[in-house]
C-alpha cells in the first residue's frame, strides 16, 4: 500500500480555523449564567429539566423588576456528563462572558469544575467565575475539597443519610437493615455513612447486608432480592440511581418483597415513571420538596412552572439558588463574583418551605428536608404514574448540619 504523506494535514486547518470565534463583550447589566450539564445523550432529560428550572427563574426575576437594570441570561452548554468535555464548555462559557456557572449532574464533573475554576480565578484574575452547584452531593465538595468559589444548594449525601437514620430512629419496629449500592465513590460513601450513623443513633439495629455491585452492569436484581429476603431485612437503604434503582425496586415488587426502600433518587426526574406501580408504598425519598406539600404559594409556583414547561416542578433548590443569588447581588451592590460570594456567605432567606441559611464555613446550604413515600390517592401525582409523594417526616434545617473538615481559603 502506498502511504500518503502527513503533509495533507492542511485539511485540518480550515476545520480548526472555523472554531476561532471571538469572545462576545460582556455587558455590565447582563449577568450571564452558564448552565453546564448534559443536554444531549442518555442523561439529556435530567439536564434539560434543570435547564428549564433555571430559565424559569431567570425569566421570573427579570420580569419582577426587583433587579433594577441587572438582567439574567442563561447560556446552556452541553457537557455530555463528561468531566473532560465540561472543561471545554467552561472555557466556552468564560469566552461568552459568563461569570457564574451552575451545574448539578455528577460529582466528578463538579469536582473537575471546582479545580478548573480555582485555577482560572488564580490565572485570570480579570475574569473570575463563581460556581453554584444545584445537585452534586458528594460530601467531599464541602469538606476536603471545599473552595471559596463553590456554593452548594443541595443537601449533601451525608446530611441525607443523617435524615434517613433519623427516620429509622422513629421506627422502633425496624431491627434489621440492608444496604445496597453501586460500586463507586458515591455508593461507598453511602454505605460508610449509613454504618457510622446507625451505630451512633440506633445501635440495636443489625446491618444484615452491605452489598456493592458494579455501576450499571446488573440486569436482574432478583438474586439480590432473594438474598435480602433471606437475611430478614426490614428496610433497605440504597444510593442507587438510574436503572440500578429502577431494576432493584421492580425486582422487589416482582418477588413480593415490600419493605421500605430508603432512596436518594426515588423521586428524581424519570425515576417514578420508570418504576411505575412497582414503587407503590415501597419507595421512600429524601428531598427538599415534593409537589404534595400543602402551601398556596408553592402550588401557584408549581402551576406556573407546569404551564410554561409542561413538566413537574422538581428542583425547588434552584428557586432558592436564584433568589439567594439575586439577594446577594442586591446586598453587595455588585454583580462581581467575588463580592457576591462574600455576600452569599452566611446569607439566609425565608422560603415557603422554611428558612434556609448558607453556612459560611463550608458553603453548604441548610434547608428544611422531607422524607416522603410514593403512594396512591395523593392530590398531585408524579410523571403521570397515578402515584404521588406523601410526607412522612419533616426535618428542620439545623438538624441536618454535619461537622465539616473544610479549611476555606478566601482571596486576599
Amino acid at each position: 500500500m502506498k502511504c500518503a504523506l502527513p503533509g495533507r494535514a492542511w485539511l485540518a486547518a480550515p476545520v480548526l480555523a472555523a472554531t476561532l470565534m471571538t469572545a462576545l463583550p460582556a455587558w455590565a447589566e447582563t449577568v450571564k449564567i452558564a448552565f453546564i450539564d448534559p443536554l444531549s445523550g442518555s442523561m439529556a432529560n435530567i439536564g434539560n429539566l434543570g435547564y428549564d428550572h433555571f430559565r424559569f427563574m431567570a425569566d421570573r426575576l427579570n420580569a419582577s423588576g426587583q433587579m433594577g437594570d441587572v438582567k439574567f441570561e442563561m447560556i446552556g452548554l452541553d457537557n455530555q456528563t463528561n468531566p473532560k468535555e465540561s472543561l471545554v464548555q467552561l472555557q466556552k462559557a468564560i469566552d461568552q462572558g459568563a461569570t457564574y456557572v451552575v451545574q448539578g449532574n455528577g460529582s466528578s464533573v463538579a469536582s473537575a469544575l471546582i479545580e478548573a475554576i480555582e485555577k482560572n480565578n488564580r490565572r485570570n484574575p480579570d475574569h473570575k467565575v463563581l460556581f453554584l452547584n444545584y445537585a452534586a452531593v458528594d460530601p467531599v465538595l464541602t469538606n476536603d475539597k471545599c473552595s471559596f468559589w463553590h456554593f452548594r444548594f443541595d443537601t449533601d449525601s451525608d446530611m441525607k443519610m443523617a435524615i434517613m437514620t433519623d427516620y429509622l430512629v422513629k421506627q422502633p419496629d425496624i431491627k434489621k437493615v440492608y444496604i445496597i449500592g453501586q460500586d463507586y465513590s458515591f455508593g461507598k460513601a453511602v454505605s460508610e455513612s449509613a454504618r457510622r450513623m446507625l451505630k451512633e443513633k440506633r445501635p440495636d439495629i443489625e446491618i444484615v447486608g452491605d452489598e456493592l455491585h458494579p455501576l450499571g452492569k446488573v440486569k436482574d436484581f432478583s438474586p439480590y432480592i432473594a438474598k435480602m429476603k433471606a437475611s430478614g431485612a426490614q428496610a433497605v437503604i440504597t444510593g442507587n440511581w438510574g436503572n440500578d434503582m429502577t431494576l432493584l425496586v421492580k425486582a422487589a415488587a416482582d418477588a413480593g418483597y415490600s419493605v421500605p426502600f430508603l432512596t436518594y433518587y426515588g423521586g428524581v426526574a424519570g425515576a417514578p415513571a420508570a418504576i411505575g406501580k412497582a414503587g407503590q408504598d415501597i419507595v421512600l425519598q429524601v428531598s427538599e420538596y415534593h409537589n404534595n406539600i400543602p402551601d398556596a404559594e408553592l402550588e401557584a409556583l408549581a402551576a406556573d412552572y407546569k404551564k410554561q414547561f409542561n413538566e413537574d416542578l422538581y428542583y425547588y433548590r434552584v428557586v432558592t439558588l436564584m433568589d439567594m443569588l439575586a439577594q446577594a447581588m442586591k446586598t453587595s451592590g455588585s454583580t462581581d463574583p467575588e463580592k457576591v460570594a462574600l455576600a452569599l456567605e452566611g446569607a439566609s432567606e425565608a422560603t415557603p418551605l422554611g428558612d434556609v441559611v448558607m453556612l459560611p464555613e463550608n458553603h453548604q446550604l441548610l434547608q428544611p428536608m422531607f422524607v416522603s413515600i410514593m403512594t396512591a390517592g395523593m392530590p398531585f401525582d408524579v410523571e403521570g404514574t397515578g402515584l404521588g409523594f406523601r410526607t412522612l417526616m419533616e426535618i428542620a434545617p439545623e438538624a441536618t448540619r454535619q461537622p465539616t473538615t473544610c479549611q476555606m481559603k478566601r482571596p486576599g
Binding site: 500500500m1 502511504c3 500518503a4 504523506l5 502527513p6 503533509g7 495533507r8 494535514a9 492542511w10 485539511l11 485540518a12 486547518a13 476545520v15 480548526l16 480555523a17 472555523a18 472554531t19 476561532l20 470565534m21 471571538t22 469572545a23 443536554l39 444531549s40 445523550g41 439529556a44 434539560n48 452548554l77 452541553d78 455530555q80 463528561n82 468531566p83 473532560k84 468535555e85 472543561l87 471545554v88 464548555q89 472555557q91 466556552k92 468564560i94 469566552d95 455528577g106 460529582s107 466528578s108 469536582s111 473537575a112 479545580e115 478548573a116 485555577k119 490565572r123 458528594d138 467531599v140 460500586d183 463507586y184 465513590s185 458515591f186 461507598k188 458494579p214 455501576l215 452492569k217 409542561n310
Partner: protein
C-alpha cells in the same frame, strides 16, 4: 532519520510543521485554544488507533484503556512533580504516559492478541469492559468518580514558561503532535511496522516466512498502546484531571469513529478525523441537541459509501490532479457534492423538525420561516431536496454506466 524523511519527502513534513505553527497564531479566543488543545490530544490518540486498525487490521473496541492508563501514569507523575520529589519538567509528561501505555499494552495485549479478526474485536471489548469496571471499583488508585487531579503550573518553570495560559499548553501539545507523528511514521518504516501490514493482508504468509503472527500482533498492539498512553499524557497536561470514564467504552468507540471518518487508508487520515470530530463535538451541541444522530449517520454513510474516509476523497482529488483529469471529472464531482448537500439538507430538516417537535423546543427557522413538524412547508422542502438529491445521483449513475458501455463498445 534523514533517510526515512527523504523517503516520505521532506516537503510534507515542513508543510505539516507550518500548519501546526499557524494554529496557535490564528486561535484568537480561548475557546478556540481549548478546542484546538482537545483536538491535539485526539489527533495523537487517533493516529495511535490507526496503527491497529488501518495498518494492523485489528479492530479494537477498547483502545481508550491505554489512553486512560497512560493518563493515570502521567497524572501521578504530575503529582509527584508537585510534591517535589520527581525532577521532571511538566512538558515531558507525555513520555510517562507513553511508558504507562506501553506497559499496560504489553500485559493486557497478551490475552487480547490471542486471536485475530472478529474474536480480537470482541476480546478488546471484553478487556475494555473489565478495566473500566475495575477502575471504578478501586477508588484508592483511580480516584473514584472524581478521578485524580493535578496542577501543571506547580512544576519548575522551564525557560519562564509555567503553562498557566492555554496558549502555552496548546503550543506544547502541538509540539508533541509533531514528535509523536514523526515517531509513528518512523515506526511504519521499521521491520515490525512493515510486518504489521503483512499480518493484516496475509497472516498465513507471515507464519510461513517464519514470524509468529500472534507475536507480531502483540508487539504492534503494545506500541500502539504506548502511543495511546502518550495521548493520555497529553490529556493529563491539558485537562489536569484524569477520570475513570476516560478509559471506558465510550471513548473507545469515539476514537474508532474519529479515525474511520478521517480515513484509515492513509497515514494522515486520522489527523483530519480527530480535528473534525473534536470540533464537531464541542461546537455542534450549541446548534442541535441531536448532534449524536448526525455523527452516527455520518459514520454509517461513510462505511457504506466512502470507506476510505475524508482522506480518501483527498486522495481521489490528488490523483486526478496528478493524472490531469480534473477538468473532465469536475462536473461529476460537482453533481455528487450537490446531491450530497441536497440529501443531507432534506434529511436534517426532517430530523430537526421531528426532534424539535418532540422536545418542545423552538422550531427550526429557515430565512425567517418557521418549519414545523405539523405544517406542510418543512416536509415539502425536505421531500423536494431529497428527490432532487436522488435525481442527481441517478443522473450520475446513468452517466457512469453509459460511459462504461461506451468504453466497451470502443474496445
Amino acid at each position: 532519520m534523514t533517510r526515512f524523511l527523504t523517503s516520505a519527502g521532506l516537503l510534507p513534513w515542513l508543510f505539516f510543521l507550518a500548519v501546526l505553527a499557524v494554529v496557535p497564531m490564528i486561535a484568537g479566543s480561548s475557546t478556540a485554544v481549548t478546542v484546538a488543545s482537545a483536538a491535539a490530544v485526539n489527533v495523537v490518540f487517533a493516529l495511535s488507533y490507526n496503527m491497529l486498525l488501518g495498518r494492523g487490521g485489528m479492530l479494537s473496541f477498547g483502545h481508550a484503556v491505554y489512553f486512560g492508563l497512560g493518563g493515570y501514569a502521567a497524572i501521578y507523575a504530575l503529582r509527584a512533580i508537585e510534591a517535589g520529589w520527581l525532577p521532571l519538567p511538566v512538558a515531558a509528561l507525555p513520555l510517562v504516559g507513553f511508558a504507562g501505555g506501553l506497559l499496560a499494552g504489553a500485559v493486557l495485549g497478551w490475552p487480547t492478541c490471542r486471536r485475530a479478526g472478529t474474536p480480537f474485536a470482541m476480546l478488546s471489548l471484553g478487556v475494555g469492559e473489565l478495566i473500566a469496571a475495575i477502575a471504578l471499583m478501586f477508588s484508592g488508585l483511580f480516584g473514584g468518580e472524581e478521578g485524580i487531579a493535578g496542577d501543571r503550573t506547580a512544576g519548575p518553570a522551564l525557560f519562564g514558561v509555567t503553562f498557566g495560559q492555554g496558549q502555552e499548553v496548546l503550543i506544547l501539545l502541538l509540539g508533541w503532535i509533531f514528535l509523536a507523528t514523526l515517531a509513528m511514521w518512523a515506526f511504519t518504516r521499521t521491520p515490525l511496522g512493515q510486518m504489521s501490514l503483512a499480518i493484516r493482508d496475509n497472516p498465513d504468509r507471515v507464519a510461513f516466512v517464519g514470524y509468529d503472527p500472534q507475536r507480531v500482533r502483540h508487539r504492534v498492539f503494545t506500541v500502539a498502546a504506548g502511543f495511546g498512553g502518550l495521548a493520555g499524557g497529553m490529556a493529563a497536561i491539558n485537562y489536569e484531571i484524569i477520570t475513570p470514564d476516560m478509559l471506558g467504552l465510550g471513548p473507545s468507540g469515539h476514537v474508532l469513529v474519529m479515525t474511520f471518518i478521517g480515513g484509515i487508508g492513509t497515514f494522515y487520515g486520522p489527523i483530519i478525523g480527530a480535528a473534525l470530530i473534536t470540533t464537531m463535538q464541542s461546537l455542534l451541541p450549541d446548534y442541535t441537541t441531536g448532534w449524536q444522530f448526525y455523527l452516527g449517520a455520518l459514520f454509517v454513510l461513510m462505511v457504506m459509501f466512502q470507506p476510505r474516509g475524508v482522506s480518501g476523497l483527498v486522495e481521489t482529488v490528488r490523483q486526478a490532479i496528478a493524472d490531469g483529469e480534473v477538468r473532465e471529472r469536475l462536473p461529476r464531482w460537482i453533481r455528487t457534492v450537490l446531491a450530497a448537500v441536497c440529501l443531507a439538507g432534506g434529511g436534517s430538516i426532517a430530523f430537526e423538525m421531528i426532534l424539535r417537535w418532540r422536545e418542545a423546543e423552538e422550531p427550526l427557522e429557515l430565512a425567517g420561516i418557521p418549519l414545523m413538524a405539523d405544517g406542510a412547508t418543512g416536509w415539502v422542502l425536505a421531500a423536494t431536496l431529497a428527490v432532487a438529491g436522488l435525481a442527481l445521483l441517478r443522473l450520475k449513475a446513468r452517466r457512469v454506466a453509459g460511459g462504461r458501455l461506451a468504453e466497451e463498445v470502443a474496445r
